[in-house]
Subunit: 439 residues, 2 copies
């Protein structure tokens, strides 16, 4: 038994601020103590209330910092790290011009390992401790990713990409090899240490009916495994799916008929969803990864967050960076662009709602809320130490480091969202161990 | 006579890449020499071609860097620096809730001076060497700004804000005091060293007909002076202007009837402009400051850049950060968000077009192209030293520091736009003197 503690301002969420009041959903302790045992949360409270009980426990103190649960990125492509910021195209053209050639390089496992290592270090530097990750069609790229994630003891979800058509030959599998290789990878990695597997058809355009059907069969055989794909990102994509699946009742229905729409299914984007599709996702308890920097960069459109978070037919939502379609691995920047999307829609997104999406909301979207997402006892202690005064401009905008009330905290958190980037991440902890500290 | 030279990769524009080909508009010297005399450009060419002629001139060498003209921010509010990232409102509500109370603090000249100093240092750190700047209604805030700009020997344009209604009493002037104070400030500052004056009615909502008329009279008396205001930013604002000026033929016409629409008039935003208004701006040779981070943050909408840069009725366009409505003082980030706006409109913006807007395009919008904006002989030597590999991610995305062809440069420039921020600004020079260097 190994106990340790962290003292500082602590912020996490105990409920969803889209539905509950801020007072009921935000937990803020300006002078808190977070006690860990063997990498998990043992206790959380004000320093005053807990110090006597844990008097002999070593304490790391972070004055002038804000300690929060680690960020959760619900949609990102590790092989696209190096092709971030590719110019001038919208989704379908961007895929063939930039993405497919880049992903071809991941047949080489050593290369895949190098990029996976770089990618995971960048995630930690940006305060992201858990992600749902696309790899490539090559099983060795999945191995490379999981090996690197495991080396860092991270909770990560990933899977081999399935594509059996409309992609270069060197990037395609078949329904049968996709099934067999995925099954083998599930058996190898799902539940290994903190790693989890996601069956990952790229999207309806690049998978035949038969490939989707077999993916659904695999999911039925391993109901504990995730399903991760893209859905209704771009207008031309939706049109193409309708042409490719003339018998389907819309884009989501293509996945639904294959048995791919369930409570562990995560769909990236959903910018073009119909009302009926939102309803269906709500009933199925599926999740959407809202990827604002990508949706703006590729010109896909403005996600209807208000509809997704409606009271009558709520859909689980997390935030995704979607690098390389997205423009930053920073979840702070992602919340900032999410705010801009809601503003363009004439709606808004409060700082607490945004930070909820980046933490507990992401955990719920990934069905990990029993393990991650806030500082409840027994949860895994992945957390970050934020500096709301990391740059001269942030320091001027946030004159006091420690907010003393919820409104003051909201203002500070909002400015940190809008102005912050990796410089605001002072340190990142994984299972209670320091995994990154700003140099 | 004082000669000095800088050796490195040099990039500037000699024509407008919205109308001319890249080959005709982009000047790129992978190993160039920029020779200065008394703070102005004396000669520009390949190192090879010029070295013999300037063999005795001291040379500063920047290997692995890109030397460009300083950025030009065509619309920004220095008093709003500290209220950047204010939450949750669109234009009109944002003004009364956040902006007006903040601007009230600038009655105190010492405070105004402190913020002006901070603001100008931040501009230099972000690579911006010239800006068209809103101050406040208080003449002492104009003095404070110009004093600080002059201390840094910067070419800056600014003016006292005119508001005689629909603002708190402490922030309003009258048509007569506005006229008299502006006139006094013009005589004091316009043409003083590198400083220039702009008559600055905030916008039609906060100026009476009489105030606008007197502003027009002043502009007629000083035709060399600028006019700087806001125009058609937000739908509710346009509606309110129509109510306030029932006899006008649209928003622009309110300014036009007062004699405020001319070749030295710069209008911020123009998101909601009608086709007739674009035509009128083209004929009048007025300029628009396109402020993408602000237009997204305040949910104002998507500026029609394509229309503004049309061949048949071209309007001069510069980029503005519009801090505090905008979310960053970085012109790199501003180009990045400009790209996203064009993508959302189903159009696009090439990296060279974007960097043109941030340099020579801005100079043209501010009628400063005879003095600034590129490296033509006799121009003032305000320039920046860019590091396209400033972060680990940028270094991976831009594997070679010095591009050897235009397509390679375009790719590098685009990645630098999308991924870059103040960290990519290695150094900033003003009139050939080092004004900022990354610590």
């Amino acid at each position: 038994m190994s106990l340790k503690a962290f003292r500082g301002a602590l912020l996490d969420f105990v409920d969803d601020p889209f539905y509950a009041s801020e007072a009921d959903s935000v937990r803020y302790l300006p002078d808190g103590l977070l006690v860990l045992e063997d990498g998990k949360v043992k206790a959380l409270g004000t320093y005053e209330s807990l110090q006597a009980s844990y008097a002999n426990v070593p304490v790391t103190v972070y004055p002038d910092r804000l300690i929060m649960p680690g960020f959760i990125d619900t949609h990102v492509h590790f092989p696209q790290t190096e092709m971030i910021a590719a110019y001038g195209e919208q989704l379908l053209e961007w895929l063939s011009k930039y993405t497919f050639p880049t992903e071809g390089k991941f047949k080489d496992k050593a290369y895949a390992q190098e990029i996976a290592s770089f990618f995971l270090d960048e995630l930690l530097k940006h305060g992201t401790t858990t992600a749902l990750v696309f790899t490539t069609v090559y099983p060795q790229s999945v191995d490379a990713f999981f090996e690197e994630a495991n080396r860092r003891h991270l909770r990560m979800i990933a899977g081999k990409v399935l594509m059996d058509r409309r992609a270069p030959d060197f990037l395609t599998d078949t329904p049968e090899t996709a099934y067999a290789e995925s099954k083998q990878l599930i058996e190898k990695w799902h539940g290994h240490d903190r790693l989890l597997y996601a069956i990952t058809p790229r999207f309806a355009v690049t998978s035949s009916d038969e490939q989707l059907r077999l993916a659904g069969k695999l999911l039925a055989e391993f109901p504990d495994v995730y399903m991760h794909t893209h859905l209704s990102e771009n207008v031309n994509e939706v049109r193409l799916v309708a042409e490719l699946f003339p018998d389907s009742d819309g884009y989501l229905d293509v996945y639904d008929r294959a048995g791919l729409v369930g409570s562990k299914s995560v769909f990236a984007h959903g910018v073009q969803l119909t009302d009926a599709e939102f309803q269906r996702l709500s009933i199925a308890r599926s999740a959407i990864a809202f990827c604002p920097t990508s949706n703006l960069f590729l010109g896909s459109g403005l996600f209807n967050l208000k509809r997704a978070k409606s009271v009558d037919a709520p859909v689980k939502v997390g935030l995704g960076t979607d690098v390389g379609g997205g423009t930053s691995l920073s979840m702070l920047k992602t919340t900032s662009e999410a705010y801009k999307v809601t503003q363009l829609r004439g709606e808004t997104l409060s700082p607490f709602q945004a930070l909820f999406l980046a933490t507990l909301g992401g955990a719920r979207a990934l069905s990990l809320e029993d393990r991650l997402g806030n500082f409840e006892p027994e949860k895994e202690a992945d957390f970050i130490v934020l500096n709301p005064r990391a740059t001269p401009l942030m320091a001027r905008r946030n004159p006091t480091a420690i907010a003393t009330s919820l409104p003051e905290l909201a203002d500070q958190a909002f400015a940190t969202m809008i102005l912050g980037d990796d410089r605001a991440i002072h340190a990142t902890y994984v299972m209670g161990e320091l995994a990154y500290e700003q140099g």
